[in-house]
C-alpha cells in the first residue's frame, strides 16, 4: 500500500508537513474526481463539505481552474441545495462566491437562493442575500428588490447588514435601484445594532455623496447625537471633515462649523474614535493652534500607551503635524524621545524624524548623537527615511552643515544597500548645491566614498559632479589623485567617466593641462574601447587651442533636445549613407500628462515614509522644471532673442476641472519680455482641434505690448499641445497687469477609433479665466546661507525702511505667511517658523529681483492685545530702485 503515497525525498520540512497537513499530497485532478460525490442521489453531507473544503484550499493556494472545470464544479455544487444540512449549506454559499459563475450560469442557482431568501432562518436569508447580490447582474435585481428593501430594516442585524453591505457594492453597478432604498436605509441608521448603524450610514452617504447639501444636512442632524457605534462615529467624523473642507470659505467670521463636534469626539471612550477625531482636527485646513491643542493632548497620551498600534498611530499623526506646525508638537518631545528606543522600529523611526522636524538649532547636536546609536540597528528602508529627514534639517539650519555633513559621510562609510547609499549621496549632492560653504567638504567626502564604492552608478554620478565642480574649488589639483585612482582600479564604465572628469579639469584649468595630458595618454593602453576612445579624443582636442572651445561645448554644454526624443529618433534611424543629423530631432516635449494622472494612485515601495517626511517644498525638486521650460522655449526661434529665462511660474489652471478643454498657463518672465505658455488639452475623443490659439486682451495691462503669438497646429484627443503668446515690457520696472484670454480653434468631428475627420468642421472659441502678472513674478526665491554676512555686504545706502499697520489679524503666523507669499521670497535660517502664540517675530528673507539683483529683507511683525498687527520692513538690495519696488509691492498689496 505504501506505493500510493511514496515518501518524499529525505527532507525534514516535507516530512513534518506530511505528518499533520490533512491536505498533504492534494492534487487538483483527484479532487475534481472526488467532487462527483455531489451528484450522488444519497448525499453524504460531511463528505461533500470536506470536498468543498479541499476545493477551497486549492483556490486559496492559488490553483486555477479551467473554464470547463469551473462550470462542472459549479453545476455539481448547485445539486447540494437538496441537502438540508446547515454546515454544508454554509459551505455551498462560500463556494458559489468563490467560483463566481458566469451570467448565463447564474440562472441555475437563483431559484434556490431566492427560496433561501424567503426562509424562516435568518442566517439563510443573510447568506443568500450576500451570494445573490454578488453574482447577479442588474436584470434579476428588479425581481428581488422588494425582499432587499425589507431586509434592510429587518430586526435581525445579520440580515440587515447583509442587505446594506450588498447595497454598498451594488451602488457601483446599479445605482438607480439602490437609491430607491433611501427611506429604509435612513431608518436603519437609527438601528441599535452597532454594525448595522455603520453599514447604513456608509450606504446613506454613498447614495447622497454627489449632493453636497444633502450630505451637509445628514452631518448636521447626526452630529447632534444618536450615533453610538464607534465605527459609525468614525465614518461620521470623516463626513464631517469633508463638509468642513467644502464650507471652509467663510471661516474668517467666526468659529469653524462642527469643530465642537470633533472636539467632543476627542473625549469619546473608544480609542478608535478619538484617533479618528484627532486626525481630522490636525488635517483641518488652516488649523489654528487653539484648535490643535486638544487633539495633540490626546495623541500625546497615546504615545505612552502599552499598545504598539496606538503609539504608532499617534506618532505617525504627530509626524505629519510637525511638517506644518512644528511648534505645536514640541510639547510631546519628551515622550517622543523615549520612543527612539521603541521595540517597533517603525515607531522609533517616526519618532526620530518628528524630533528632527520639531527640534531647534541647539538640539541638533544632541539628537545627532542619539541617531548615531540608533542607525546601526535599523533596516535600510528606515535609514533612508532618517537620511531624508536630515537632509531637510540641514537645509533648514545651514549653519549646522558641518555636523550633519559629517554624519552623512560617516554613515556613507558603513555597510548598506544601493538605495540607502543613493539616498545619502543624493542628500550630499543637494547640500553641495544649496549650501555653498558645504561644497568643498562635501566633495572631499564623496571622493573618499568612491575610493571604496561598489556601485558603478553612484561612482559615475560622483565623478561627473567632480568634473563639474572640482575645477571651481580653491585647490582643484587634490581631486585629480582621487579621479585617476578610479582609472587604475575600476571597471570600464567608471574608468570612462573618470577619463571625462579628468579632461574637464584639463580643459578648465590651464595650469593643470600638461599633467592631465600625461594621465590621459596612459589611458591609451586601456583594454576597453570606450575608455581608449575618450582618452584619444580628449588628448587630441586638449592639445589644440582652436578646438578647445568646441570641446568645452561638448563637455559642459547640454544637449538641446529632449533625451527621450533623441532616443526615439536614433531608434528609427537606419544606418545608411546619410549621417544622423541632430537638428532633425523634434524639440517638442512629449506630454507628461499620463505620468501625472497616475501619480495619486501608484503605490511604490519607496513611498512608505517618503511622503510623510517630504518637507514643505524646501527640497529643490523644482530644478528640473525650469530646465525643461528653458529647452522648450529655446526651441522656438522667435524667443531666442529674449535672453535668459528669469522665472517660470507654477502652472495656473484657466479652466474648471473636467471641462471640454483643459488649459493651464505658465508665465515665463524675461528681462524685457513675458511669455505665456498655454498647455491645452482636448478632452473629447470625438473632436480634433486645429489652429488652436489663445487670443489675449491686454487692455488692463498697459505696460505690455504683444509681440508674437504661436498657435498649436493640431490638437488630437488627450495629447497636450502648447500655444505661446509673448509680450514686451519695460526693462527693470515691476510691471503688473491683468490679461483676459479666449481660446480660438477650428473643430472637426472625428471618428474616435480611426482618428479620421468626419466633416469640414467650424470655428469656435472658448472663454478662459483671466491671468495676472504680479510683483512676485519678478522675484525668485534664492536663499543665502549666512544672512548677516550677505546683509552687511550690501550697501547700507540702498536700505529702505518703512513701517506698516496691517490692521486686525487672526494671528501672527497666518499674517507672516501672507506677507511672504506676497513677496515671493525665501525665508532663511529657519526664520519661517514662529510660535503659534508669538507676539512678535523677525524673519530674514532673501530673493533675487529680475536683472540678477539680490534683495534681502528683515521683516519684523508684532501683534498687540487688540490683535492689531504692525510690520517693519527693512530692505537692502544691490539697486536702490529694487528696494523701493519691494516697498511698493507691500504698499499696493
Amino acid at each position: 500500500m505504501a506505493s500510493i503515497h511514496p515518501p518524499p525525498k529525505k527532507d525534514d520540512d516535507r516530512e513534518d508537513d506530511s505528518e499533520y497537513s490533512p491536505f498533504y499530497g492534494i492534487e487538483k485532478g483527484a479532487v475534481l474526481q472526488e467532487a462527483r460525490v455531489f451528484n450522488d442521489p444519497q448525499l453524504d453531507a460531511r463528505r461533500c463539505a470536506q470536498v468543498i473544503t479541499k476545493l477551497l484550499y486549492l483556490i486559496n493556494q492559488g490553483e486555477t481552474f479551467t473554464k470547463t472545470e469551473e462550470t462542472e464544479v459549479f453545476f455539481a455544487v448547485t445539486k447540494l441545495f437538496q441537502s438540508k444540512e446547515v454546515g454544508l449549506r454554509r459551505m455551498v454559499y462560500l463556494m458559489i462566491k468563490e467560483i463566481a459563475p458566469s451570467s448565463d450560469e447564474v440562472i441555475i442557482v437563483t431559484s434556490s437562493l431566492m427560496k433561501d431568501m424567503n426562509s424562516k432562518t435568518d442566517l439563510y436569508r443573510a447568506n443568500s442575500i450576500r451570494v445573490l447580490c454578488r453574482i447577479t447582474d442588474g436584470g434579476l435585481l428588479g425581481q428581488i428588490e422588494r425582499y432587499l428593501k425589507q431586509a434592510v430594516v429587518d430586526k435581525n442585524p445579520v440580515v440587515s447588514s447583509a442587505a446594506l453591505v450588498s447595497g454598498i457594492h451594488l451602488l457601483q453597478t446599479n445605482p438607480d435601484i439602490v437609491k430607491r432604498w433611501s427611506n429604509e436605509v435612513q431608518e436603519a441608521v437609527q438601528s441599535k445594532a452597532s454594525l448595522v448603524q455603520f453599514h447604513a450610514l456608509a450606504l446613506l452617504h454613498q447614495i447622497r455623496q454627489n449632493d453636497r447639501l444633502a450630505v451637509s444636512k445628514l452631518v448636521t442632524s447626526l452630529t447632534r447625537g444618536s450615533v453610538r457605534s464607534p465605527l459609525a462615529q468614525c465614518l461620521l467624523i470623516r463626513y464631517t471633515s469633508q463638509v468642513i473642507k467644502e464650507s471652509a470659505t467663510n471661516t474668517q467670521t467666526g468659529d469653524r462649523p462642527f469643530y465642537d463636534y470633533l472636539e467632543g469626539c476627542l473625549r469619546h471612550k473608544t480609542d478608535m474614535v478619538t484617533l479618528e477625531a484627532a486626525r481630522a482636527v490636525t488635517e483641518l485646513s488652516g488649523v489654528t493652534s487653539r484648535e490643535l491643542t486638544p487633539a495633540i493632548t490626546v495623541l500625546q497620551l497615546f504615545l505612552s500607551s502599552s499598545k504598539p498600534v496606538l503609539r504608532f498611530a499617534a506618532v505617525r499623526t504627530l509626524n505629519k503635524v510637525a511638517m506644518t506646525h512644528p511648534l505645536a508638537v514640541t510639547n510631546c518631545n519628551i515622550d517622543m524621545e523615549s520612543l527612539i528606543s521603541d521595540q517597533n522600529r517603525s515607531i522609533a523611526t517616526l519618532a526620530i524624524t518628528t524630533l528632527l522636524k520639531t527640534g531647534n538649532e541647539s538640539s541638533v547636536d544632541r539628537l545627532m548623537k542619539q541617531i548615531t546609536n540608533f542607525m546601526s540597528d535599523i533596516a535600510d528602508e528606515f535609514k533612508i527615511v532618517v537620511v531624508e529627514a536630515i537632509r531637510s534639517l540641514c537645509l533648514k539650519f545651514p549653519q549646522k552643515y558641518r555636523t550633519l555633513m559629517n554624519f552623512l559621510s560617516s554613515i556613507l562609510r558603513e555597510e548598506g544597500g544601493f538605495d540607502y547609499k543613493k539616498a545619502i549621496v543624493d542628500s550630499i549632492l543637494i547640500l553641495i548645491k544649496e549650501i555653498p560653504d558645504a561644497k568643498e567638504s562635501g566633495l572631499v567626502h564623496l571622493c573618499e566614498f568612491i575610493e571604496d564604492c561598489e556601485f558603478t552608478y553612484l561612482s559615475t554620478q560622483i565623478l561627473h559632479l567632480l568634473g563639474l565642480e572640482g575645477p571651481k574649488t580653491s585647490d582643484p589639483s587634490k581631486y585629480i589623485r582621487y579621479i585617476y585612482n578610479r582609472v587604475i582600479l575600476e571597471n570600464a564604465t567608471v574608468r570612462a567617466s573618470a577619463v571625462t572628469a579628468l579632461a574637464k579639469f584639463g580643459l578648465t584649468i590651464d595650469a593643470l593641462r600638461p599633467r592631465v595630458l600625461v594621465l590621459l595618454r596612459r589611458c591609451f593602453y586601456d583594454n576597453d574601447d570606450e575608455v581608449r576612445d575618450r582618452a584619444t579624443l580628449y588628448v587630441e582636442t586638449l592639445a589644440e587651442d582652436d578646438i578647445l572651445k568646441q570641446l568645452k561645448n561638448s563637455l559642459f554644454g547640454d544637449l538641446d533636445v529632449p533625451l527621450a526624443n533623441l532616443e526615439a529618433s536614433l531608434q528609427s534611424y537606419n544606418a545608411s549613407e546619410i549621417p544622423f543629423d541632430l537638428s532633425t530631432v523634434s524639440r517638442e516635449l512629449k506630454p507628461e500628462q499620463s505620468v501625472e494622472k497616475k501619480a495619486p494612485t501608484s503605490k511604490k515601495a519607496g513611498k512608505d515614509f517618503g511622503t510623510m517626511v517630504a518637507t514643505n517644498g524646501a527640497l529643490p525638486s523644482g530644478t528640473s522644471a525650469p530646465d525643461t521650460y528653458e529647452k522648450l522655449l529655446s526651441s522656438i526661434p522667435e524667443f531666442l532673442g529674449f535672453g535668459k529665462l528669469f522665472k517660470s511660474s507654477a502652472p495656473v489652471e484657466l479652466t474648471e476641472a473636467e471641462t471640454e478643454y483643459s488649459v493651464n498657463a505658465i508665465k515665463h518672465v524675461y528681462l524685457r519680455h513675458v511669455i505665456f505658455q498655454f498647455n491645452c488639452t482636448n478632452t473629447i475623443a470625438e473632436q480634433l482641434l486645429e489652429k488652436v490659439s489663445v487670443v489675449i486682451d491686454s487692455s488692463d495691462a498697459e505696460d505690455f505690448e504683444e509681440v508674437f503669438s504661436k498657435h498649436v497646429e493640431s490638437l488630437p484627443y488627450n495629447v497636450p499641445g502648447q500655444a505661446f503668446v509673448a509680450f514686451r515690457k519695460p526693462e527693470g520696472v515691476c510691471s503688473v497687469g491683468k490679461f483676459s484670454n479666449t481660446l480660438k480653434f477650428h473643430v472637426n468631428e472625428v471618428d474616435p477609433t480611426t482618428g479620421e475627420k468626419e466633416d469640414e468642421g467650424y470655428e469656435d472659441e472658448y472663454q478662459l479665466e483671466d491671468l495676472e502678472v504680479t510683483a512676485p513674478d519678478y522675484i525668485v526665491k534664492v536663499g543665502v546661507s549666512n544672512f548677516k554676512n550677505a546683509w552687511e555686504a550690501l550697501d547700507p545706502e540702498f536700505e529702505r525702511v518703512n513701517e506698516y499697520g496691517l490692521g486686525v489679524r487672526e494671528n501672527l503666523q497666518d499674517t507672516f505667511q501672507a506677507v511672504v507669499t506676497i513677496l515671493g521670497m525665501q525665508p532663511c535660517e529657519g526664520t519661517d517658523v514662529l510660535a503659534s502664540n508669538a507676539r512678535s517675530h523677525t524673519s530674514l528673507l532673501a530673493g533675487e529681483f529680475i536683472g540678477d539683483i539680490q534683495v534681502l529683507v528683515r521683516l519684523s511683525l508684532g501683534i498687540d492685545a487688540q490683535k492689531q498687527v504692525a510690520m517693519k520692513l527693512a530692505v537692502r538690495a544691490e539697486d536702490q530702485s529694487v528696494s523701493d519696488a519691494i516697498h511698493e509691492i507691500i504698499a499696493n498689496a
Partner: protein, 178 residues
C-alpha cells in the same frame, strides 16, 4: 476628494515559514497570484523577527498599513490603505484572531487550523465582505460561522467535537496505511 468608509485590503494567515494557510484579498491592488505572493513574502520577511505575541504590532509595508499578531506557528495579518485608521484595522485583526480561537477552542496552531480550514475560511467570509467590515465581535462571528441557531439540533460544541473526531479517525487510518 471622495471620502470612503474604512476598507480592508486583505487578511492573511501565514505559517511560521511564511507559507499561506488561508488568505483573502479584497482589493485589486494585487492583480495576480505572483503579486500576492510577493506581498506575502515581503510582509513576512519584515515582520518575522518582531514579537507580536502579547500585543498586536503594526508597520508600513510597501505603502500599506498592516497590523499583525502571532500565536504558536501562525501569523495573522490585516492590511489597509496607508491613510487608514490603525485602530480600526486592529479591531478587525482582534475579531479574526479571537473568532478563530473560539472556533478552535483555543488550540490555535497550524495543524488545527488546517484540520478545520472550513471554519477559518468561513470566518474570513463573515468578517469582511468585499473590503467592507461586516462584523468585528468575535462571538458573533463565531456564532455565524457555526450557523448557530440555524439548525437547533447540532450546537456548536458538538459540531466541532464530532468534526474533530472524524478528522482524528481519518488521520489514524492514513497513518496505518503507510
Amino acid at each position: 476628494m471622495e471620502v470612503s468608509a474604512p476598507l480592508i485590503k486583505n487578511i492573511l494567515l501565514l505559517d511560521s515559514e511564511g507559507k499561506r494557510v488561508a488568505v483573502k484579498y479584497y482589493s485589486d491592488d494585487w492583480p495576480n497570484l505572483a503579486a500576492k505572493l510577493a506581498f506575502e513574502k515581503s510582509i513576512f520577511a519584515k515582520t518575522q523577527r518582531t514579537s507580536a505575541r502579547t500585543e498586536a504590532e503594526i508597520g508600513m509595508f510597501d505603502g500599506y498599513i498592516a497590523v499583525y499578531k502571532f500565536i504558536s506557528d501562525l501569523h495573522f495579518y490585516v492590511t489597509g490603505g496607508e491613510d487608514e485608521n490603525e485602530l480600526i484595522l486592529a479591531t478587525v485583526l482582534q475579531g479574526f484572531f479571537d473568532a478563530v480561537s473560539l472556533l478552535l477552542r483555543s488550540s490555535v496552531e497550524k495543524k488545527t487550523v488546517l484540520e478545520n480550514l472550513d471554519l477559518v475560511l468561513l470566518c474570513l467570509d463573515e468578517i469582511v465582505d468585499g473590503g467592507i467590515i461586516l462584523e468585528t465581535d468575535s462571538h458573533v462571528i463565531a456564532g455565524r460561522v457555526a450557523m448557530r441557531g440555524a439548525d437547533a439540533d447540532v450546537p456548536l460544541s458538538e459540531q466541532t467535537i464530532s468534526q474533530a473526531l472524524a478528522t482524528a479517525k481519518e488521520h489514524l487510518a492514513r497513518s496505518l496505511l503507510k
